[in-house]
């Protein structure tokens, strides 16, 4: 659709939404904090989690459930700073390679057995470093793990590694009970379907395809928590979850689409907020295959960046829920982020000039070259806009909609594509989520790696240097240099930056916004029901 003809009312609505979203986000923050109450059941619409072993999966559907039953050594606050969880405190040796954790005393597993440092050592050595899809990469970092006493565990690293602590939360480092997993295959241990953790809620039942029911752990090691009696996770797809939330059958809607967010925005008694989901912040890039002509030419890549009106794409295709990206890195990592990088404001004249300069001239039919874009159904609107906008500068785009698996295979495994459109979550540390898109060593046949096949030793060296630098201020400067370099080289074109909200009934449930950047995995600990009892009976 031509931009000039886009209905003014839609643009106005979207602008209103942009203004209203932060306001809505503040509902929970600015309201006076009444005294928490006890009891009640929170019903959550989420996905079907599958096996409830958090140490073998990075599934976004499993962790909202397992996060209520398990703990990591630390938890990340909303700025990705480590805070105590199973570890009350920790120290780092002068050489930056030894981390000593003092564990909380008197922690018990849900079956009554005492928790100890042996559980931590076992979980890392036998499960996380072998079977967790992400954390197993730490095996190259960790030299050894020791448990010198019941409440002390020590990690010795092979070399300095600045983001080490950010790996140790429940999402990437949930601790399992050794007495139930030792000697078994963690992938198929039946305990995975009746889990035993240390967390605020205990497992009661799991009916696959229907629900998971958790009940309060009365012996939780954090005094006075949790406040709710039960959590019920109902397995629902997005459309069904929206209907159930609207019908009042669900109190927390975990993964709403942008349209659903708009549907419930400004409804009384309902909060639509990004707070607590900072851990899911992402930049959505257009990936260019640098091994295919003419994308190897940086002038062509810059021309494409100028041709794309990312403001318009963010406003329309993302309904204002995500913002136009101003940097290759998400703005939700403030200590490393900068928008002072080369910008590509929408400018077709500049784009045309760059393409001419690169020798990619228009043919008789006005077309410079034909290319294709692969994407899955979640990005249909974005793909159509990209096609239209690139068409304006003479680049004819064939849209190739495919299912997620085909698209992953074409882009990451076979590298058989021209342009691809995808999500990339970045936190909690640029080294964890962001580096993988750009470094030479990650041009591998695995999903969500360096699909553009960009390889610049200078960039790799900066990433390496940043990973070893323990001073955050200096690290931040290294990452800002990287952003400037990557914005200049544009191997991928950042389109939108944001998180996507979650939705809950604030008229009945309070206490959200207090469990860090991955609150969607830990909300149960502090949330309370406004109609509950004033004291725990």
């Amino acid at each position: 659709m031509p931009r000039s003809r886009f209905p003014r009312v839609v643009v106005t609505t979207v602008l209103l939404v942009l203004l209203a979203l932060p306001a809505a986000s503040n509902v929970a923050e600015t309201a006076p904090a009444p005294k928490p109450r006890y009891g009640g059941t929170l019903v959550v619409a989420a996905g079907d989690p599958g096996p409830l072993n958090p140490a073998i999966t990075s599934s976004g559907q499993a962790h909202p459930v397992t996060g209520q039953m398990f703990n990591g050594l630390i938890r990340l606050d909303r700025y990705f700073e480590p805070k105590p969880d199973l570890a009350l405190r920790w120290s780092v040796s002068k050489d930056g390679r030894t981390f000593t954790f003092n564990l909380a005393p008197n922690v018990r597993w849900h079956d009554g057995r005492p928790f100890s440092s042996a559980d931590v050592k076992f979980t890392y050595e036998e499960v996380l470093l072998k079977l967790h899809p992400r954390t197993r990469t730490l095996a190259d970092v960790i030299e050894r793990i020791s448990a010198p006493s019941r409440n002390v565990v020590v990690f010795r690293l092979k070399q300095r590694y600045a983001p080490f602590l950010t790996w140790l939360d429940e999402d990437n480092g949930a601790i399992l009970p050794r007495h139930l997993y030792q000697g078994s295959d963690p992938l198929t241990n039946p305990v995975n379907l009746r889990p035993v953790g240390t967390g605020p809620f205990k497992f009661e039942s799991y009916t696959p395809g229907d629900r998971v029911v958790l009940v309060r752990n009365p012996n939780y090691f954090k005094q006075g928590l949790p406040r709710l009696d039960r959590l019920v996770f109902r397995a629902m797809q997005s459309a069904q979850a929206a209907q159930a939330f609207d019908a009042g059958e669900v109190d927390l809607y975990m993964f709403p689409s942008g349209q659903d967010a708009l549907r419930f925005l400004n409804r009384p008694g309902i909060t639509v907020t990004e707070r607590g989901r900072e851990g899911a912040a992402r930049v959505v890039p257009l990936i260019l295959n640098l091994k295919r002509s003419p994308f190897g030419d940086v002038r062509v890549r810059r021309a494409i960046a100028y041709a794309l009106d990312v403001e318009f794409i963010a406003r329309t295709a993302y309904a204002g829920v995500l913002r136009p990206a101003k940097s290759p890195l998400t703005r939700f990592i403030p200590w490393a982020y900068t928008s002072k990088v080369q910008q590509y404001p929408h400018n077709t004249a500049r784009s045309n000039a760059l393409l001419d300069e690169a020798g990619v001239r228009r043919g008789g039919n006005g077309v410079r070259f034909r290319t294709s874009l692969i994407y899955d159904a979640g990005f249909s609107r974005q793909a159509e806009l990209i096609k239209t906008q690139l068409g304006d500068v003479g680049i004819e785009v064939d849209l190739r909609l495919m299912d997620m698996n085909s698209w992953v295979r074409r882009l990451y495994i076979e590298k058989d594509f021209d342009m691809g459109y995808t999500n990339f979550t970045h936190p909690a540390d640029p080294d964890v989520g962001w580096k993988r898109i750009y470094v030479c060593s990650n041009i591998v046949q695995a999903p969500f790696t360096n699909g553009s096949q960009y390889c610049n030793p200078q960039v790799d060296a900066l990433f390496e240097q940043a990973a070893r630098e323990l001073d955050r201020r200096k690290r931040g400067e290294l990452y800002r240099r990287l952003q400037r370099k990557l914005a200049s080289d544009v191997p991928v074109i950042p389109i939108a930056d944001g998180i996507g909200p979650w939705i809950y009934r604030n008229s009945e449930f309070r206490g959200f916004g207090n469990a860090g950047s991955k609150e969607q995995f830990a909300f149960g600990e502090k949330v309370w029901w406004t109609k509950g009892s004033t004291s725990r009976r």
């Binding site: 009916t207 109902r234 059958e249 992953v408 999500n423």
Partner: protein, 344 residues
């Protein structure tokens, strides 16, 4: 497909019945054995076809388990080894068939449990939904079809035919969302989805309240075909000589329809209903998805998305088995309806 002579109805002839029935009994036993053998062959073919189809589709379970977070190549290799996805296809098929013959349908890493357990857990919900929908559909479809057939060309026939055509053209997804929006979101009469509510789990009334919308939707999708088939069969039966004889005896049109025409008109209806039994169990994917019904249809949907090979193979084998069993049941019912049925 068994055949029966067209002339004469169940109540329309008796002469020579015992000889025909004796032949029929022998033929029926042979027929059953033949059906069982072909059923086993069918299951083997379904298993092989399932593996070939899944392996030729892009992506695999390892990729899905790796998730959007990404994982290194070694992880993918490790998972593929666990699932034997790196073995040649004939090996995968033969080892699966051997295990399946012993009742072991494999292990689903995606579900974290044996496939057999996962299917057996979902089966009751699917049977409840399918059984209720089929019962409703049969009752309404046969009733309306009979009325339309017995009043061929009249305004009632036209109204029923038009209504069934409309119902036939309704997209399930749209209809389901519409019903939820009306009865759950707006009126708050019925729950939006699921099989039990969060606060009152498991009560009979609670489950029945959750059953109304999905079973009603599924039934509504089956009714139009039943109406049309019943109507055509009834029209056909009403033109037979034994009906003329019944009318000549002075029976009322109602008696003629219910006692003579309808029983003979039910054979194609039985074919459809039993055919649906197999399909409804795993074929109600859309209805189960819209209404968040934890049955085999959603399990199948999730298994496809996750490229969960053992689960898909298990579900397709169960589905094919149900079709085989349903067809056998249909044959038995044919015989009850018309003992002259020739199964040779």
């Amino acid at each position: 497909m068994p055949s029966a002579r067209k002339s004469g109805g169940r109540r329309g002839r008796r002469v020579g019945a015992s000889a025909a029935e004796a032949r029929g009994r022998g033929g029926f036993a042979v027929f059953l054995v033949r059906r069982l053998i072909s059923g086993v062959a069918l299951l083997a073919a379904v298993t092989a076809a399932t593996f070939v189809l899944i392996s030729s589709a892009p992506g695999d379970t390892a990729q899905v388990l790796a998730g959007q977070a990404g994982a290194d190549e070694e992880y993918l290799v490790l998972i593929r080894e666990r699932l034997q996805l790196n073995r040649p296809l004939p090996y995968q098929i033969s080892s699966y068939v051997k295990a399946a013959a012993q009742g072991d349908l494999g292990y689903s890493l995606v579900q974290g449990r044996p496939v057999r357990d996962a299917i057996l857990d979902r089966l009751p919900a699917s049977l409840l939904l399918a059984g209720t929908a089929l019962a409703f559909a049969a009752l309404i479809g046969v009733t309306l079809g009979s009325i339309a057939g017995s009043r061929r060309g009249g305004s009632v026939d036209a109204a029923i035919s038009l209504a069934s055509l409309l119902a036939y053209s309704l997209p399930v997804f749209w209809l389901g969302q519409l019903l939820v929006a009306l009865f759950a979101v707006r009126l708050h009469w019925l729950p939006a989805g699921g099989i039990r509510s969060a606060e009152d789990p498991g009560g009979v009334v609670d489950v029945l309240r959750h059953l109304i919308l999905p079973a009603g939707t599924l039934a509504l999708l089956l009714v139009p075909l039943l109406v049309r088939v019943t109507r055509t069969s009834v029209i056909d039966a009403l033109g037979q000589e034994y009906v003329m004889v019944a009318r000549a005896k002075g029976l009322s049109e109602r008696q003629v329809l219910l006692r003579h025409a309808l029983p003979n008109a039910l054979r194609p209806v039985v074919t459809i209903l039993t055919g649906y039994l197999g399909l409804v169990l795993t074929g109600a994917v859309l209805v189960e998805t819209v209404f968040v019904w934890p049955g085999l249809g959603r399990l199948l949907y999730d298994a496809v998305l996750a490229r969960d090979t053992p689960m898909l193979a298990g579900l397709l084998i169960v589905s094919a088995s149900l079709v085989v069993v349903a067809n056998l049941i249909a044959d038995i019912i044919y015989r009850v309806l018309d003992p002259r049925t020739d199964f040779r």
